[in-house]
């Protein structure tokens, strides 16, 4: 049987949150295509992940060892995966469609001059062509595509499948040493800056988000207070960052951060598709808007119609009245 290689993503030994979901998707596609699933783990810092990866069903695990793989580098990771694919006679390589996953697969595709399909949701295997649905416009539209080529390259949209361990973990584990040279070293991480950890926008349980309707940088003070009271953080729309009211790191949406909090409170945000795709996975949405017909209002779970300038302070006052 020929091989399907899945690239396991990690950061200096810390496994990427969405990689095992991608591994499960790869396992399902490999089974449909009658290919053996092989997991590639780049860098010695990833060696310790082999046991966990083994419980997700690969036939083989390959520890890619080279000093240029010890830290992340898209060129070097792609070359390592490419050489492993050749040594296994692989006909497909995949990863999860994260920043790194998409980047590495695109490098691999460029070097091999093969097509690469990013952010697939489903893949159906045909004799020659594979057919996939993939994410467009950050998720507000899907696309059916076909993929042909001797080496099929794709990424799975993050969370397209959730991880599912499948038992014993009797995969064989071997070391693979690719041949890498100075060309690949150009794009390896040289240095890092660390910022203080705290609740981040991407992981906060509550996001209180403001749009054009907030009106000014100062207008965000009550939103800040509400977010703090609810154990959450402030987010915003692109109009807000474009006006310089908030930093871009607060922007939710297609070209900002994707959030999935328990509660998303959208204050003065109309609900354009590019914003919506950034928060559509919130469990609950509360919209506050003067326009009862705004898409954010009609698509929310709950809405209050009116001026956020009076409504947000009233909510804060009511919380204080009840809870001190």
């Amino acid at each position: 049987m020929s091989a399907f290689v899945f690239l396991v993503e990690h950061d200096r030994g810390a496994i990427a949150e969405t990689t095992l979901g991608g591994l499960r998707a790869a396992r399902e596609v490999a089974a449909a295509a009658r290919l053996d699933l092989h997991a590639a783990i780049p860098g010695t810092s990833g060696d310790a992940l082999a046991d966990e990866v083994a419980t997700h069903g690969p036939a083989g695990i390959h520890l890619l060892h080279h000093e240029l793989l010890d830290d992340y580098g898209p060129d070097a990771w792609a070359a390592g995966a490419s050489q492993l694919a050749d040594s296994l006679g692989a006909t497909a390589v995949a990863a999860t469609g994260t920043d790194r996953g998409n980047e590495v697969l695109a490098h691999l595709a460029a070097v091999r001059d093969e097509a690469m399909v990013a952010n697939c949701l489903t893949v159906s295997v045909g004799a020659d062509a594979w057919e996939m649905t993939r994410v467009r416009w950050g998720g507000s539209l899907h696309e059916r595509s076909s993929l042909t080529g001797d080496l099929k390259l794709l990424t799975f949209a993050p969370h397209a499948r959730e991880p599912e361990p499948v038992g014993a973990g009797d995969a064989s584990t071997a070391t693979f040493t690719p041949t890498l040279d100075a060309v690949h070293a150009t794009t390896v991480v040289r240095d890092r800056t660390e910022t203080a950890a705290g609740v981040t926008l991407a992981t906060a349980p509550v996001v209180v988000s403001g749009g054009r309707g907030v009106g000014s940088a100062e207008g965000f003070a009550p939103l800040e207070a509400l977010a703090a009271r609810l154990g959450g953080v402030v987010g915003c729309s692109r109009v807000v960052t474009n006006n310089g009211w908030r930093p871009h790191s607060d922007q939710v949406g297609q070209t900002g951060t994707v959030v999935a909090p328990d509660l998303y409170i959208a204050c003065g945000i109309s609900g354009a598709v590019q914003h919506w795709v950034g928060m559509m996975n919130a469990k609950h949405v509360l919209a506050i808007n003067t326009d009862a017909q705004a898409p954010m209002v009609t698509k929310a779970d709950w809405a209050v119609v009116g001026d956020l300038e009076t409504i947000v302070p009233a909510i804060l006052a009511e919380i204080d009245r009840r809870h001190g």
Partner: protein
């Protein structure tokens, strides 16, 4: 410094995306057009780099004649030259797009000298293939890193930063190089009336290429499942505060 920025004209949909009957394109009758915010920032970054180090910025797009609107928008914020690769109404696949861009870059470089830096958006707004820039860079034999939110150039070398959940990764690239940037790397300037007027007069070079297709073929576009949630209006104005806190109490411990 000679800087090139690649931008793609895309529709700017509002609350919903409506498909045409052919299910291969979206209905743009009532829409404006834009480039991805990542690419807007790439244009701004190119202009800033040239303001600091001298040189010129060129914008390149592959698209229909209407895409010259996006080139002129770049002229209006300080870009010096523009070129368009002729294309039909349907997008070529990412392999063909990258081949056409790489060949056009070689043509532009043959005429006026190599670009020290080629800037791309991290991903295009509509198709989001995450690859055209990387393919072009490999075809031209230049290093590229994606997802970049800071660029510093000093004496022929470039340091770039990519944010991570814990901070940022730092890469050092020798020039000539390519970088795919993300929105947030800068805050793009607005055009002025004066720059908008002069942008109308700058000539745009037309390039034709015959790039071969790759193995990805779009079959049709599919709207994702509609959100069926029906909203519950909790009230009008500040009087709704009690009803809001009632639902918030169910979700958050206060």
């Amino acid at each position: 410094m000679r800087v090139l920025v690649c931008v793609k004209r895309v529709p700017a949909p509002g609350a919903r995306i409506v498909l045409n009957e052919d299910r291969r394109s979206i209905d743009t009758a009532l829409l404006g057009f834009a480039v991805s915010p990542h690419e807007e920032c790439a244009v701004e970054e190119g202009v800033r780099i040239v303001e600091q180090h001298g040189g010129s910025v060129t914008v390149l797009t592959l698209g229909p004649p209407e895409a010259e609107e996006q080139i002129r928008a770049a002229f209006a914020v300080g870009v010096h030259a523009g070129a368009r690769i002729e294309a039909g109404p349907e997008d070529p696949d990412p392999v063909a797009t990258a081949r056409a861009i790489a060949s056009a870059v070689q043509g532009l470089e043959g005429a006026a000298g190599p670009f020290d830096l080629i800037l791309f958006g991290n991903e295009s707004a509509d198709s989001g293939g995450y690859q055209v820039g990387i393919r072009v860079a490999h075809a031209l034999g230049r290093p590229i890193v994606s997802g970049i939110k800071a660029i510093e150039i000093d004496d022929g070398a470039m340091t770039v930063q990519r944010p991570t959940p814990q901070g940022a990764e730092v890469y050092e690239l020798p020039l000539p190089a390519a970088v795919a940037v993300r929105e947030g790397i800068n805050l793009p300037r607005y055009p002025t009336l004066k720059t908008r007027l002069s942008a109308k007069k700058t000539p745009i070079e037309l390039v034709t290429t015959d790039a071969a297709e790759g193995g990805q073929r779009m079959i049709e576009l599919v709207p994702p499942p509609e959100d069926t949630s029906s909203v519950q209006i909790l009230g009008d104005g500040p009087e709704a505060a009690a009803a809001v806190v009632d639902v918030v109490e169910q979700l958050v411990s206060l």
